[in-house]
Amino acid sequence: MMTRQASRLTLFLLLAPAILWLGLLIVLPHVEILVLSFSERVAPRVYAFGLGNYLEFFTEPLYWRTFARTAFMSILVTALTLVLAFPIALYIARVAQGRVKAILLLLCLLPFWVSELVRTLGWMMLLRETGVVSYALRAVGLADQPVELLYNDGAVILGLVYGGLLFMIVPLANALESLEPAVVEAGFDLGGSRWTVLRRIVIPHAMPGIVAGSIIVFMLTVGNFATPVLLGGKNGLWFTEQIYAQFITRFNWPQGAAFGMLLLLLSSAIVWLGLRLTGQSLGSTLKQA
């Protein structure tokens, strides 16, 4: 129908948006911050190649401690989210039937269509000194003065777990959905206790969902900004905040670029490790979610 040359031209035109998009908005910008992260200021407005920004990261305790803290707390948040979400996903996938099931799943989805800022505002209103929880505690006589529940690690973890739950429940429920009831029954018939059946049959079957959910929750948590800053206040100390401070507040772009590369490295390394350990591919993992 078409000559070879015409079809080549068509292909080129069809490919143009993808190439412009990935080239101008993804690849070149990342090359730019990679280059920027290796440049040092040697004199005003004069920059030279050097490892100074990365050295600064390792020598200044505030920076690497914030980085380690962000990584550690993100792993903790991911684990907590998994533990909290598993019974819910199991209930939605295995126990609830028909209409109840659809409603339970929809109710899970609803809060996550709402902006992260609105959800964080809700937690701030609940937890702060003049907030709802503090007020209720005083009303029932459990406290005789206002209680400050905000601006500590507990509040940060709470907010981050809350934000991650949906991204854990949906892949878990999807994975558990395909578990044959007969297999579970066979486990009980062979004398397995509830715990044995859960550990030997249900959890191995849910593994793809566990991996997908954990990877997504980890990525979202490590890259979060608003939740740790707003719920943690001065004690939030999240690595994204350091990137923001270098770029926007201090205008030290090379340092901020180095931090950005480190965050990207951390996030990619954990995703890669998670996929490697469980033999999943990125495409199928994202499809789970």
Binding site: A18, Y162, F247
Partner: protein, 279 residues
Amino acid sequence: MNRPSLAWKLYIAAFYLFLFAPLLVVAIFAFNASPFPSPPWRGFTLEWFTGSGAVFGKPGVLADPIWLDSIGNSFKVAIPVALLAVALGTVNAWVLERAEFRGKTLLAMMMLWPLVIPGVVLGISILAFFSRVANGLEDFFQTDLDLLRPGLPLVILGQLSFILTIATLIIAARLRKFDRSLEEAAFDLGASRARVLRTITLPFLSPALIGAGLVALLMSFENFNTTLMLVGSEPPLPITMYGQMREGATPAINAVSLMLMLGVGGIASLFALTSKAER
């Protein structure tokens, strides 16, 4: 396992309470007749929506230029992002599903990348790259290029960088289900390529196009991380909310949040309806 224990049921109930408590608190206190967004309850008012500021000294959302401008800025970003995401996402979906060329697997994989890059890193990389481009072009042409400096056009590009992946995936999923014999039949009946596209293929894709547009609209409206790095002097809604939350806001922020929840709920149910129509 099919007979859930009482403890399990109680856990489910507690979980859903936990899920909705923050949203309910935000919604309820939008109507509290108090200058602060906190208890005690001082009576019902609509002052934080429509009030001019005569009662509490601070205006409600619909009379406050700060909020109105932010909502306007959000639309100025979200509408172009949604339109571009649908248009370019359709072309990308076509490339993924129909075209054959070397390196297609690599391209398909690269299209997923934006989803695994933290939003803050996307923001700073685009900021740094476009500043360099702007500096280069300004030296060359000896003019100011504000378009590439932090501001709404850059926010649009930053959000598009990852929203386009999602639009592409939604549209490609629909295109995969398309029965190509329908197109062949139309060609056999003498239709031109453009006509087949217009009367057969695009109508089939339309639920996915609308769905992708709505999702893009929502994601753009709610994006915070990438936007924060690229914003200039015209903040979209989430940036203004963030600023107010740090400084301590009036219940007007609850009112704007409630309006956002209702708007988002409306769009989400529209999306649910279009994806139901697909089946």
